[in-house]
């Protein structure tokens, strides 16, 4: 019995207690494998759905299919697993920053199923965000099983996300970088080592099950100097596209929220619209890996007009699918939009300067992809590494870096917060490790209480109070009611100093008469940032803390600085 109980707490084994890195690496392998499996499962079922539904594509009613899929997925999320819609990445980041990466078990499969329904039926969305969420939830639950502490759990959640991305793209470095850059936001060796291991495990699983194929192979590009200059224009175009997508997604979200229908009707309406677009431009349907492949090979034959139209159509379809309640991520649509934008740009260039020997259009498609990913996620490194890995081409690295960096900068200028973090920042919930917001959210009022105040009663005479002043270290004296013990007000020595040296007042005044009843107070469950704001507004250095009308202690800026420093030191140094 005891052995059985012990295996669940490997953190207490002697070998791991000495150094938890070993333990984390071990668990990272398990988590990477599991989330890799989840990614492969989603990928396989998407392919199966696609093949199964392919026979119905040519019927006139095929535009209903995305509607049915989206409605089913919304119903599944809302009624069966009772989760909110959305792609889930903000949820992961939120739980990582506030609750040490605690996630529900149901999250580890719910998004897989719902996004499979949405995308498989033709909705325009990506399978990556759902896989990231599942991987993260798998990691979180495995960490929970082994009773790891918060810091370790956060790392393991990162491992899950890394394993998932690595596995779905067969791209270990992209997985690592994504997980650290977007999910954790903390570049530290303690994180990087297990996450790297998990990426390897995830990739390996995918290679075993699906073969070691590069997702989008391509021909060799010969990039000239002019091409590199031309990249700047592409970066601008992809920045515009990503801002457009962000804005449209959010406005769709707002519109659909106002619609007075149940969530599945809304999803169906969105799906229907996508289906109708899909009749004319089938490229917008699904996650779009297949058209991506043709574009990179340079085999996409449509003319400039159609391609330009397709960029906007895809943006619209994606925001219709996701904004109206479908389930999925923006990763794959970003790739498609990016490559379409790249094609458009290339064809435009060829049209304007036909004599210049431009590089193959597939190359621009690649660059556009990187531009969009970097622009949407504000994650240039993820964009660069992902493109290099999924295309297996290192020769594009220079223009790739330029496009990614410029696109990120431009997007940052227009949309200061990335798509994943926008929701969190608006709620003030983005708490990256080592930041002011994080330290303040971790500290609680309870921890800052100074309890060395002497509480006095309201009917006490000033004479008795003088004796108390003698013994006190503090300038503040809380006054409470004799009978109920309720807090009534404060006495600050500065306010009563004139009376202190007038013996005639000693027996004439009770404390109830001289206390300050209009005191700004703090409650135990107030947020510290809120408390500090109150202090700043009222120019106070300390405030009394009250719980259910009883005085608990004081909170002051001096103690806060002390604890804040401690906390910051403990948090940032690992």
């Amino acid at each position: 019995m005891r052995i059985l109980r012990r295996w669940r707490h490997p953190a207490s084994w002697t070998i791991f207690r000495l150094d938890d890195r070993l333990l984390l690496i071990l668990i990272a392998v398990i988590v990477g494998t599991c989330s890799g499996l989840a990614a492969v499962a989603l990928n396989r079922s998407l392919i199966a759905m696609f093949e199964w539904l392919h026979h119905f594509r040519h019927y006139w009613w095929s535009f209903i299919m995305p509607a049915i899929g989206a409605a089913l997925s919304a119903l599944f999320l809302d009624k069966m697993v009772k989760e909110g819609a959305g792609h889930g990445v903000p949820e992961v980041i939120y739980s990582v920053s506030r609750y040490g990466g605690l996630m529900r078990f149901r999250s580890s499969f719910s998004r897989l199923i719902s996004s499979c329904l949405t995308i498989g039926s033709g909705g325009s969305a990506g399978p990556e965000a759902p896989v990231v969420m599942s991987g993260a939830a798998i990691g979180s639950n495995i960490a929970k099983l082994f009773s790891l502490n918060d810091r370790q759990r956060v790392t393991i959640v990162g491992c899950g996300a890394a394993g998932a991305i690595s596995s779905i793209f067969n791209a270990p470095i992209a997985g690592m970088v994504f997980s650290i850059e977007v999910i954790l936001g903390e570049w530290k060796a303690v994180n990087i080592v297990p996450i790297a291991i998990a990426s390897v495990a995830g990739t390996e699983i995918s290679r075993i099950l699906q073969g070691n194929q590069i997702a989008f192979s391509h021909r060799l590009f010969h990039i000239g100097h002019l091409d590199i200059v031309a990249c700047i224009g592409l970066a601008i175009i992809s920045a515009v596209a990503s801002v457009l997508l962000t804005r449209l997604l959010r406005s769709m979200h707002g519109v659909s929220k106002k619609a007075p229908f149940p969530i599945w009707v809304r999803a169906a309406a969105g799906g229907c619209a996508v289906g109708i677009i899909g009749i004319f431009l089938p490229i917008v349907l699904g996650e779009g890996y297949h058209p991506l492949r043709t574009m990179i090979e340079g085999a996409y034959t449509q003319g400039l007009g159609i391609v330009t139209l397709a960029v906007f159509a895809k943006i619209l379809a994606t925001s219709l699918t996701l904004g109206w309640g479908g389930s999925g991520g923006i990763f794959a649509p970003c790739l498609v939009i990016g490559s379409l934008a790249g094609l458009t740009y290339h064809r435009g260039l060829v049209l304007l300067w036909p004599s210049v020997p431009w590089v193959n259009e597939g190359c621009f498609a690649l660059l556009g992809m990187a531009g969009l990913i970097s622009g949407m996620l504000h994650a240039p490194l993820t964009g660069i590494f992902l493109i290099i890995e999924i295309t297996g081409g290192y020769e594009v690295i220079l223009p790739l870096i330029i496009v990614s960096v410029i696109s990120t900068t431009l997007c940052h200028y227009i949309e200061p917060v990335s798509f994943y973090l926008k929701e969190l920042v608006e709620k003030g919930q983005l708490l990256r490790p080592g930041t002011d917001a994080r330290v303040l959210s971790d500290l609680s009022v309870q921890e800052l209480l100074e309890k060395d105040c002497i509480i006095v009663k309201q009917n006490m005479l000033l004479r008795d109070f003088i004796n108390i002043i003698k013994k006190s270290h503090r300038n503040y004296f809380p006054v409470e009611d004799e009978n109920t013990g309720n807090f009534l007000g404060m006495i600050h020595l500065d306010d009563i100093r004139p009376y202190l040296f007038n013996p005639l007042m000693y027996d004439a005044v009770v404390l109830g008469q001289i206390m300050d009843t209009d005191v700004k107070v703090v409650y135990l469950d107030d947020d510290l940032s809120e408390v500090l704001r109150k202090m700043d507004v009222n120019r106070l250095f300390s405030m009394p803390v009250i719980a259910s009308r009883k005085f608990l202690g004081m909170i002051s800026k001096a103690t806060l600085l002390d604890k804040y420093r401690n906390e910051l030191m403990v948090q940032t140094d690992l």
């Binding site: 207490s12 040490g100 918060d150 810091r151 971790d442 004796n467 401690n566 403990v570 140094d573 690992l574």
Partner: protein
């Protein structure tokens, strides 16, 4: 080692909730098991040092506490001793003969005498009612181990240029280890002298044991008022 959470928090001089949270977040090298904290002393000590925190086991801490606290009147007077019939016609000679009697062998008596005079030159330490409390301006943390008060009854009252111009018949020479102690002893002594009956009692030139017991009574009274 194993300690429970409350003791642990005391050792680290942090609120319980902070320690609890740090353990949960994995920020401190302590492992949790039930309500107990398992840790390695050396690792934790190093960790605490690196993060500017204090860590000391409970038994070590108690030792430190004992050195704090103020000396009371009674022990100080016991150390200082009581002397009668101090000879002298003026402030200088009285102080000179009093300093000679001080029961502090290690001290530079000439230096002390000069420092007492220096203080008298500032203003008289005669606080009225025939009582004077000569003391040096600075405390003497290096020269004496414990604060002390030496009581000197004079052979004949002399003019001390006291505030009320009454002749001084008794001196309490006050030597203290710290400013805090000095203030404490001075205020306690002043409390006793404010009481007229106490001064009357002094005028009877009591012997050492009855003086000390009177002091003990007065001091008890003082503590009672304070609480």
């Amino acid at each position: 080692m194993k300690l429970n959470l409350n003791d642990m928090a005391r050792c680290l001089d942090l609120p319980v909730s902070t320690v609890d949270r740090w353990i949960r977040q994995g920020r401190i090298p302590i492992h949790r098991s039930g309500n107990g904290c398992i840790f390695k002393e050396s690792i934790l000590e190093k960790w605490a040092f690196n993060h500017g925190l204090r860590f000391s086991l409970p038994n070590e801490e108690r030792k430190k506490e004992r050195n704090f606290g103020l000396t009371n009147l009674l022990p100080a007077m016991q150390v200082g001793g009581v002397f009668h019939d101090i000879k002298g016609d003026d402030v200088e000679s009285v102080l000179k003969s009093a300093v000679d009697k001080l029961p502090v062998p290690a001290i530079n008596k000439q230096g002390l005498y000069e420092r007492l005079l220096e203080r008298e030159a500032l203003t008289s330490t005669g606080i009225g009612k025939g009582v004077a409390i000569p003391h040096p301006r600075a405390s003497l943390p290096d020269e004496i181990d414990n604060s002390l008060i030496t009581t000197c009854f004079l052979e004949k009252p002399i003019d001390f240029e006291a505030v009320d111009d009454r002749a001084v018949f008794v001196m309490f020479i006050l030597l203290s280890t710290s400013i805090k102690n000095h203030l404490n002893l001075l205020s306690r002594l002043a409390f006793c002298v404010r009481d007229d009956s106490f001064v009357e009692f002094l005028r009877t030139y009591p012997d050492s044991s009855s003086l000390l017991s009177k002091i003990a009574d007065s001091e008890n009274l003082l503590d009672k008022v304070d609480n």
